[in-house]
């Protein structure tokens, strides 16, 4: 039955990503699977450091495809994202071909005939050879398909979104002088956003909307397990439990998965077998990025460690 196949394929996505060290929740796996099946980009939102960009990398590694990354920023425009004419090359060629030009035009008797010939000539200069493909066009031109990561789309201007619409819905771009370039193999498109500004409805409607929040405790433990192999199970449980406690505080920047992994690595390096107050206080700066946050968290450290240890016993 179709249903049967579907669920196994979602599992296939899950295990495929896991093989690349990306432990995906079922929602993420479903999103990746669906984006494949109905050929839609995925818009990934969520706090910084929960693995939005990592997801694109993992998909690319899993499928053995090239990843093309477009980092968005304020002022990003068509010329930098899509394509540009190689002006200098065009100019250089006209200079070099000046004599040829004379030859070609020399044959013409009247101004009119010369103009006609010049028209044919002009098309030569606005041809594929003189187009400098930028990430978006490159992505469409990959014969074997690719993963196109449009990172931090919320940092770009609103106009840039409109530019993306054609690519996202039909996987093609229109270059006025050349016509429409369609994708050979539709790329897998991942857009990421930190919700710095609200994205347009037109953009959202073309994408699957995936929200990656902080993972559940079990999932995070599995992530740590896959990323930091040397860590003992007790320590892993304790530290993940501790981080979950920290996330309940009202902080400027909550520690996310990337911080969890960093911390786990630090703890392994320091060869600590389990959490204790001293070691946590010494390494709190790995987890929290603001002085104010560290100060806010410091008084809770002992209770949180105790809580994490207790949940350990019962969990």
């Amino acid at each position: 039955m179709a249903d049967q196949k579907a669920s196994t394929s979602i599992e296939a996505v899950e295990s495929g990503l896991a093989a690349q060290g990306y432990i995906a929740s079922r929602q993420i796996a479903t999103a990746v699977y669906l984006s494949q099946q109905i050929e839609k980009p995925i818009l990934v939102e969520g706090p910084a450091g929960v693995g939005k960009t990592e997801l694109a990398k993992a998909i690319a590694a899993w499928r053995g495809m090239k990843m093309i990354r477009l980092q968005c920023y304020e002022g990003l425009d068509e010329a930098k994202a899509l394509y540009e004419w190689k002006y200098a090359k065009q100019l250089l060629y006209t200079q070099i071909l000046k004599d040829k030009l004379g030859e070609v035009l020399g044959g013409a008797q009247t101004l009119h005939a010369a103009l006609d010939q010049l028209h044919d000539f002009g098309d030569v200069f606005f041809s594929k050879e003189f187009v400098e493909p930028r990430p978006l066009l490159q992505a469409l031109e990959q014969p074997g398909g690719c993963v196109l990561l449009i990172d931090e789309i919320d940092k770009s201007d609103a106009e840039f979104e409109s530019l993306l619409l054609e690519i996202l819905s039909d996987f093609q771009v229109t270059i006025p002088e050349l016509g429409t370039v369609s994708a050979i193999t539709p790329p897998t498109v991942i857009l990421t956003s930190n919700s710095e500004r609200d994205l347009g409805d037109a953009l959202k409607r073309r994408c699957l909307h995936l929200h990656i929040g902080f993972p559940e405790q079990r999932l995070e433990e599995r992530i740590v397990e896959s990323r930091v192999p040397g860590i003992s199970q007790t320590l892993r449980r304790q530290m993940v439990g501790f981080i979950h406690e920290i996330r309940t505080l009202d902080l400027k920047k909550l520690p996310s998965v990337s911080e969890t992994i960093d911390w786990a690595r630090a703890l392994v390096l320091l060869q600590s077998g389990e959490l204790d107050t001293d070691i946590v206080k010494d390494t709190l700066n790995v987890l929290l990025k603001y002085e104010a946050d560290i100060e806010a968290a410091a008084p809770h450290v002992t209770t949180f460690i105790a809580k994490a240890a207790r949940s350990n016993v019962f969990g």
Partner: protein, 458 residues
């Protein structure tokens, strides 16, 4: 299955999730891929395709749970058919199921509904209710007042008329059976009522919300009840967002004017003056500047509260806003509003200058002495207040000077034109120096007023 999904889309719209036809097509395609068998995956797929923000995801998730909590006869009944049956089964019960589950006394000569009730086959009854509900198009229910109508429509569709006849006959022939049937009927009514309530929860939210918003929009701001304040805040924020959307876009589009020949030539000097890169003249435009003076004395405090909230939610359109609050003397409140949450800011402002008796004269005097220099020929000054100065000197001369220094002077008065000039209202004297003086007592009027002000800068 298709029918069921469509009803879910309607329910989703009811929950405030915008589902366009194109989105519903996407969702159908997604569902076709994942199938109906795994509820969790189905939920994920719908959430991914339909919801466009985290809030929508939450709303849609709730809606999904509510929707698929409806009776599910299919799960418990033996599978008789291979095709995809919707999770909430809609097909009428097959005659076979009614009889083999029963084992009750002989029920010959009774109508199908009576037989079903007596056989106490819960699944069959649930399925019958569900199919009757869709026959009565329960998904059209909009208001809680329609409960009765829909209940009786569903009961009619299930054949309650025949059941009544049966009851009449049985009362004479077999009183004990009649008694059982009556009890069963009570249970049925209850079940139908529940179904209707659930339908109401699913499908009526949007309409109810629209209605509530409409009422709220036209309700006098000054007389908002405490429990509505939060809703009003949300509405004001929505208005601000709409204004922002409307006025942010054209501003950028109109930037480009004619070709700037001089700058183009200079830029392309490297290519011998061949204009590869073009430069455009920028149209000169005024940057919006708004200075808001808000009366926060007791009588109009609530209105200015919302007004300040709107002005500050708008700061993405209006680069330069400075807000002042006064009742008997005037202070600048821009920083307070920007650095605090709306609630905290309002509380702080009120504690500093609020609730006093208003003295327009001395407040205007304060403004002239300290902040007159903030006014430029591009500034729009908005005064919000009822112009009731407790018979103190209104100092209309200061207002004249303010008006002369600024681009426009707009007075928004929460009182109606009818009462301007009566009692201690100094409105007619002030109004002569205002470019615009209008009533502003509801959210809608507030929206129009601010919209006009921002529009004048486009």
């Amino acid at each position: 299955m298709r029918e069921n999904l469509h009803r879910f889309f309607r329910a989703a719209r009811g929950a405030g999730v915008h589902v366009s036809p194109a989105e519903s097509i996407d969702a159908m395609r997604a569902v076709a891929q994942v199938g109906f068998s795994d509820r969790g995956i189905l939920r994920d797929a719908l959430l991914l395709t339909l919801a466009k923000s985290q809030d929508e995801k939450l709303a849609l998730g709730d809606c999904f749970d509510l929707f698929f909590r409806q009776p599910e006869p299919r799960q418990e009944r033996p599978k008789t058919n291979d095709n995809d049956t919707p999770p909430a089964g809609r097909q009428p019960p097959s005659p076979g199921t009614t009889n083999d589950a029963g084992g009750g006394p002989p029920t010959d000569g009774l109508g199908p509904l009576a037989q079903m009730l007596l056989s106490q086959d819960r699944n069959a009854i649930a399925a019958a209710i569900a199919s009757a509900a869709s026959a009565a198009s329960l998904s059209d229910i909009r208001y809680s007042t329609q409960r009765g109508i829909f209940s009786s429509r569903i009961l009619d569709a299930m054949g309650i008329q025949r059941l009544r006849d049966d009851l009449d006959e049985l009362t004479a022939a077999n009183p004990s059976l009649a008694e059982r049937l009556r009890t069963a009927l009570e249970g049925l009514r209850e079940a139908v009522r529940d179904t209707v309530s659930q339908g109401l929860a699913l499908y009526a939210r949007e309409e109810a919300e629209n209605l509530r918003n409409e009422i709220l929009r036209n309700a006098p701001l000054a007389r908002i009840e405490p429990r509505q304040v939060e809703e009003m805040r949300a509405l004001i924020r929505k208005i601000a967002r709409r204004l922002r959307e409307r006025y942010c876009k054209p501003r950028k589009r109109q930037r480009r004017g004619h070709l700037d020949v001089r700058r183009t030539l200079r830029r392309n000097a490297a290519w011998g003056g061949v204009p590869f890169l073009t430069a455009w003249k920028r149209k000169h435009r005024d940057r919006p500047k708004i200075v808001a003076l808000c009366d926060v004395s007791g009588s109009v405090a609530r209105v200015s509260d919302f007004f300040l909230l709107l002005i500050h939610s708008l700061h993405e359109v209006v680069d330069d806003v400075r807000s002042f609050a006064f009742s008997s003397h005037l202070i600048e409140v821009s920083d307070i509003l920007e650095s605090n949450s709306p609630e905290a800011a309002m509380a702080e402002i009120m504690s500093k200058v609020g609730f006093g008796s208003s003295d327009y004269g001395s407040s205007l005097d304060d403004f002239e002495h300290e902040f007159m220099s903030t006014l430029t020929p591009q500034t729009t000054v908005i005064v919000l207040g009822d112009a009731r100065s407790n018979n103190l000197d209104p100092r209309a001369d200061i207002l004249r000077r303010i008006s002369e220094r600024s681009k426009r002077l707009v007075w928004l008065n929460p009182e109606g034109r009818m009462v301007w000039g009566f009692g201690d209202s100094e409105m007619p004297r002030y109004a002569t120096f205002c470019s615009v003086a209008r009533q502003c007592a509801t959210a809608q009027q507030l929206e129009r007023a601010v919209s006009d002000i921002v529009a004048s800068y486009q």
